[in-house]
Symmetry: D5
Subunit: 127 residues, 10 copies
């Protein structure tokens, strides 16, 4: 199972809200039906609360280890994307958080799934 216990966080360095984006280009999991490997790019975007309000950032190496824990898991594209959002929201409790997964083609069709928590910050609309 994806292992959310590996996450580490640190306090945001600012009292202003800002946006952080981590793009993991080497994600892999398994198709739950055929057992064949899936490959994709997972993009995390989020806006932590202000430092004075206890805003937290995700530590980068722990994020990488969390993603590795999907390597031999079977899950649909739509489920993987929702699980990552839910696990991250629990540990950093952000103003806004978005997961976009971009999967390599299967049978000539490639897929993108995008889930949000909270409203896209005004500065980011249309990007």
């Amino acid at each position: 199972m994806p292992d959310a216990t590996v996450f580490e966080v640190f306090p945001t360095p600012s009292d202003s809200p800002f946006v952080i984006e981590h793009i993991a280009e080497e994600f892999t999991s398994m198709c739950p039906i055929t057992g064949h490997p899936d490959f994709g790019v997972v993009t995390l975007r989020y806006e932590p609360h202000a430092a004075k309000d206890g805003g937290k950032c995700i530590e980068l190496k722990s994020l990488k280890l969390y993603y590795h824990s999907f390597r031999n898991e079977g899950a649909f594209f739509e489920a993987v994307t929702n699980i990552i959002r839910d696990d991250l929201v629990k540990v950093i409790n952000p103003n806004w958080l978005q997961i976009e997964t971009n999967w390599k083609g299967r049978g000539g069709i490639r897929s993108v799934v995008r889930v949000d928590f909270g409203d896209v910050p005004k500065h980011f609309l249309g990007r």
Copy 2:
């Protein structure tokens, strides 16, 4: 005729709305007048209802088979695009659904057709 009986669906994995995109890069149909083959990319984007409201997702392999059923059909670009939208809306009844077909050039002109069902989610405007 395009064969909408091949569609299979599964329940959405989340109570939050989110956006799914399937990009089929190997679509082909026939020109109804000349009988020459047309080639294009068909992009499906949709937002299912929440799981608690019976939201449904389209199963990927059944989508592929549905697209294959256009292989020897003659239809105009504009009609193909509207047929796909109508067939998909019937089986998954989404919040929003969009079909964009992007056709290779004919006589030096290439074409794009875009049809929507429902309103583009606020997060997706301008994309």
Copy 3:
């Protein structure tokens, strides 16, 4: 003179409005002053009225022939773009129509001209 008599139209296949885009990458006309050839890309985007309201689509081959009729015509970039818009609006009477011409460089300057008829559909703003 550009020959608008070649246009053919057909009824839109849907009662919902939708957007059609035709990108002609091999357009050529003449500079009215020097007589030198100009080369450009002409993009037509439009939204027909609903089928129940008599909405019409432009037939693709007739569009190509219309563009060919500029081959030995002398006209400024700004004029060519406005003429195409006016001729097309007359034959298909759309909700919205846009012509964008994108000209290869002359003396190190390349040019783009964009004219609209009606309001850009909400779905298309920012694209």
Copy 4:
């Protein structure tokens, strides 16, 4: 000094507002401090007034000659961009006009300066 006397104009060919863009990819001026050459791309975008209101377009060759007159002038990036806007606004008095200069790198930093006259037309927001 940049030579605004070279400008020539002609009447806009339409009673509808529309947008014209001229992209000059071979602009060069001098750094006022070191005397070293600067190279950049200068993009002019504008919307003339309607023909019935005396709207004017800039003639392309005269624009090229105006840009050439900066060749041996020393001026900062920010000043060049504002001078071009001011000179053009005087001769064509448009609804809207924008100059964007895009400079090649100096010491590992490349720069873009964008100045506007009037409001960006609704159709162009987000582009």
Copy 5:
């Protein structure tokens, strides 16, 4: 420590607000934990106040020297980005200022951090 004393400024050349962007493609600092070098692109975008209100621009060479002063500093991506914003806001006091840092990959994940001071000018939304 990053050295904000190197900054030099000059008066904005215009009474109209406008946007300046400096893209530094060769930024490097150190990871505070491992001591390994980080490489990134730092983009500064800002809108100075009008000249009549004492608006100021940052001198380009001093900006380069300021960035160099991070070369042997250890700091997290999020902190580097906030420090640069705070230092620049102090010296030029702009209408709006944005720093976007775009970091090369570490362990298969690349990161982008974006911080703002003030509201994005209406002309820039969605870019």
Copy 6:
């Protein structure tokens, strides 16, 4: 079966040898085992004999029709490529002829097959 009777030829226009390349970007056939469609790009390169020696060129429209005859044929990548070479060599009897097929991915693997008849002309080595 692929239909070689559609080929038409015309005499080469020169007494000097030269090289002709036709790149068909919209080729499709079927997998002989699964019945799923395959999509690829087929490149033909050849050098006809001199006109005085009866050199022949392939007529472009007949080549297109020949390629269309594979649309509902089942054949492996390696076989398709060899069949096309053999059929073309029979009708134009060239100095040299090469077929390169470039297939879209299947299960994450994309394939290229290249077959030759005769020696690559000296001018083309390494290209």
Copy 7:
């Protein structure tokens, strides 16, 4: 351990030598020291013997399964590349065979390894 028993072969369809290339863009193995995943592209190029001499081709699905068997194996880039060559040479005994592995970056360095069996065919030199 990589599982060479999954390979299946079929007879080459031609008495002429020709070149086949299979590009697997979703290969993954593990670093033998850190246990972290490695990602790469594996390209196989080979020329089978003529059909009359018993030339054999590799079946594409079996090649995919063979590559999957590296998923949880620890091996250096150089060793992976040599193992694949040796296993394939045993089952298809070709005229020539080449494996090129192209690995995503580690700590800012990306790597390519290329091993050959037999001489590059004259037609392929310099490619």
Copy 8:
């Protein structure tokens, strides 16, 4: 008919052989059968004789006018390419000359034709 009388030449500026390449990206002629316009890129490469041996270069503007004279001519791709070579060889009598025409697609097939006069200089082989 293509008009070779427009050519102008000037003496090569060097006693050493060297290579000149002119890439005309806006060439157009007509299909001799359908009368439809063809568009392509015409690349001329040549090596003049040494100045002391009467080596000649082609004047650029006259080359442009010569290409314009094909605008309303009907000719096959293969013939156009050979005609240009023959006309140029007559006026500049070079050590080596090559014409490569690269045509936009027709019915999904795009074409390249390459003809040479003399041997490719050793420095240019494989380019």
Copy 9:
């Protein structure tokens, strides 16, 4: 000074010669005259001797640390490239080794330096 003592090596895994390429995209050193930072890409290509002849490979992490030791060194492009070649030849004594350094622009000029030890393997000529 660049620190060649950090190098570690391991025995080549094959008795056949093969080619290894390591591309370091984040190299930085200092200009010996101005003290300004230089940024470049350093590509190492080499062919070790066969395993039976004591062939050695460079360990990747030690290569990274060696490159880091140039961070605060002042040296010309030409010298850096030759030093890296000489240091690597000493520790792995290969059949062939090549260093190519690709430097970001200075004053509008970017530079590439390429040094070899031994002859380029036949398989690699022209690449």
Copy 10:
């Protein structure tokens, strides 16, 4: 007149021959007939003699100043390229030297001129 007195040289740092490439992307001169500016990229490639034989390298800043001296000079593309070669050969007397100038388009035709002194080193053929 181009000013070859600005050149400075330094001794090559190696007793082995190697190749140096300087790519100047911001070169400008004038058309000798119309007086209009020309823009191009000038690439210098050379192999100095060994250090023990007095091999010399060109100092980068002096090369830049030399190129600046063409800014207001009128000369044909072919002549500019030969002049640069002759001036550089005089000051560094290399084993091999090559100048390639790549000019922006004029009237839809862009040009490349390539001149050599001495033979291309074996390692560089076909690149």
